[in-house]
Every structure is written in structure tokens, then in C-alpha cells.
Symmetry: C2
């Protein structure tokens, strides 16, 4: 919060950022190597050459050592909706954004098979408390998206929340399915076509509804 007059962050601020990065890096490295539950925060603190008390000053919980890196994605859908070109439907913007994510192998789509990403995914899935945090993530994303829909597409409050809940839930399924397949050995490049088809199906269901379930049988 304290900047020198020339606009550059002061020594204090720079040091804080370095300490923060050191803690986070040490944590991720240890977690990737030994697993989240197998490493204690005391070990992380020691590796980062920092006291346990200081560690908790930077990251309020052990889980935050991992999930703080994904914090940006919490509002990603909301930002996409807000930043869409006028005249574009929210769902269209979201679909195109997701497809672009697939093409760029954005880890959030589950379609990135770099060994580091795969290891990170596996590490998270192996730690129940981290999975729980990912669920909370979805809740936050839902709220942010609902607000974006209300404000930019003047959708009624409740409708916006229904839509946001559906969209976030479906995107979660898409990402999880891709990640699962890559974890089982499929290559991202080989999976890409299928992932696109699945995403198209998902967004088609969102747009057209589940009538298939209500009338076909």
C-alpha cells in the first residue's frame, strides 16, 4: 500500500513480494514432489527460510499456498461476459472464450498435458481439502457471473443466478472430463477435437435446454 513518490514500489513492498513468491515456490515444489498431505507447513516454512508465523501472515491457510495461483480464474467468466463486444450474447462470448482456451491449452480447460500441469492436477485431486477449495471456487465464480449477467444483459436477478449456476457447473464438467482423460494418458493434441465437440454439445444444451430428457422418453 506504500509507494515511493516515483511510482516504484518501495523496498519493503518488493521484499514482501519476494518473500511471498519464495514461500509459494517452496510450497508448490514440495507439494509436487511429496504430495500435499505429506508435507507440513512447518517444512514449507523451513524450506522458504521463514517462520511458520510469517507463512500464515502471507497465506491464511495451507490450501491457499496452492489455490492463490488460480484466484484470477474466479472472476474469469464474469469478465468475459462484461468484456464481450456489444451485440454478442453472453453465452456466445463464453463459448468462444472456452473454445479459445481449448485451442491455447489453457490449463483451466483441463486440456493441458504439460507434465507440470498434470502433476499439479493429480496433486490437487489427491487432496480432499484442495478439492473442497475448488468447489468453493465454483461458488465464487457463480456469484460473479450472475452479477455480470444482471448488469450487462439486464437479466432478472434469479434468472441470472440460475444461468450462472448452470454455466459454471457445465464448464466444470467439461474441464474435469478433459483433465481426467489426460490423466489417463490421452494427449492434449489428440483430445482436442473431441474436447471441442464436447464443449459444443455442452453449450448447445445450455442454449436449447434439456428437452431431450423431458420429451424423448
Amino acid at each position: 500500500m506504500v509507494w515511493a513518490v516515483d511510482g516504484k514500489p518501495g523496498l519493503r513492498e518488493r521484499k514482501k513480494q519476494r518473500t511471498r513468491a519464495a514461500i509459494s515456490d517452496a510450497a508448490i515444489a514440495l507439494f509436487l514432489e511429496h504430495g500435499f498431505n505429506q508435507v507440513s507447513v512447518a517444512q514449507v516454512a523451513e524450506a522458504a527460510e521463514v517462520s511458520k508465523r510469517t507463512l500464515f501472515a502471507y497465506f491464511p491457510t495451507k490450501e491457499d499456498l496452492v489455490v492463490h495461483r488460480l484466484a484470477d480464474h474466479e472472476t474469469e467468466a464474469a469478465r468475459v461476459v462484461r468484456a464481450r463486444t456489444p451485440g454478442t450474447a453472453p453465452l456466445t462470448a463464453l463459448r468462444e472464450h472456452f473454445l479459445k482456451g481449448l485451442q491455447e491449452r489453457d490449463p483451466i480447460t483441463g486440456l493441458n498435458d504439460h507434465p507440470q500441469v498434470l502433476r499439479l492436477t493429480r496433486m490437487i485431486l489427491d487432496a480432499p481439502s484442495l478439492v473442497a477449495r475448488m468447489d468453493q471456487f465454483k461458488t465464487s465464480a457463480e456469484r460473479a457471473l450472475a452479477e455480470a449477467l444482471r448488469e450487462t444483459a439486464d437479466t432478472p436477478e434469479l434468472t441470472a443466478r440460475f444461468a450462472a449456476a448452470q454455466i459454471v457447473a457445465v464448464q466444470g464438467v467439461l474441464a474435469q472430463d478433459n483433465a481426467r482423460r489426460l490423466a489417463h494418458g490421452e494427449a492434449a493434441d489428440a483430445r482436442h477435437t473431441g474436447a471441442v465437440a464436447d464443449a459444443e454439445l455442452a453449450f448447445a444444451l445450455l442454449e436449447n435446454g434439456l428437452r431431450q430428457l423431458s420429451s424423448r422418453h
Copy 2:
């Protein structure tokens, strides 16, 4: 697991059930009075006249002391889909079931304003770890519902998961909104009409899709 020949549970089994109930009752009572985080498991154990070790033999985590009572609802949607009368669409069965829940003031719909239920709701919402467990609940419900859809409506795997995710998410919004309104003082009877209208809207969105979001603007 051990029954006497006459079919009645043996003394051992009865005693276990009584102990379990005693622990659970003591826990709920203390939690309702002082709040979840304000009561330690040691206090619960003492109130139930049981050792801490025994408490954890019956309930693997502190949160389970509360959520074990809601465990049935985890597979409720799936059961509704499986038990629907032949020829009925899954979504129709689910909508009717939810509307019946509203009419009967089933707490799961959020439309029960008995003081005890309100206090319990508030207590859960005030405890982050319990909210997290409720999220996990939704994940389980999702999986169960997806499987029910696959098996009884021969829906393709991924489609079933999309549908299940949407349905569970939307029902969650409905319940949460009702609960929020009752927590703010609305009476269940006064809220019922609005709750029905909202539910109809929600299921209409599920059936017909979010085209309103993709074409109107």
C-alpha cells in the same frame, strides 16, 4: 451387523445406536446453542459422556456430527429419477418432486420456517467448513443423478453429467434463495406462492435453455 435369531438387533447393536444418537443429539444441541466453531469436539464428547476417541469412532469428522442427518438427500434426485412412473420425463418427475417438497415444507427446499430449522440453517451458514461439506454434497448428488439418467433414460454419459450438473446447481439456487428469504423474516406460507413460481421458472429454463441470454441481446 449381528442380529439375534429372532430378527431383533442384539444388545450390542442397540447400544451402539443409542450411543450414536446420544453423541449426535448432544452435538446438535451444543452447536445450535453456541455455534459450530465455538464448541469443541471434546465438549461434545463430555456432554455425551463418551471419550473423544469413541466419538471419532462414530463420526469420522466434526462436520459429520451435523451432516450425517442430511446424508439421505445425497441420492434423493437420483432416486426420484429412478422411481418415476414409466413414460414420465426425468425433468418432469424432478419438478413435481420439488413442488411437492415445497408444499410439504421439506427443509431441503429451504421453505421450512420452524425455528429449529432456521437455527440449524443459520448455524451451518455461519460455519465455513460446514458450507464446504454442503458443496461436496452437491458433487455427490450430481454423480448419483448422472448415473440415474444414464441408466434409466439411456442418456449418453457426458450429456447425463451436463444435465445432472445443471439440475443440481439450479435446485441449489432455489433452496438457497428460499432459505435466505426465510432467514430474513419471510414466513414460509407467505413465501410459498413465490417459491412455486421461481421453481417453475427454474425448470422452464432447464427445459428450454438460456436462449433468452443468447438471442435477446
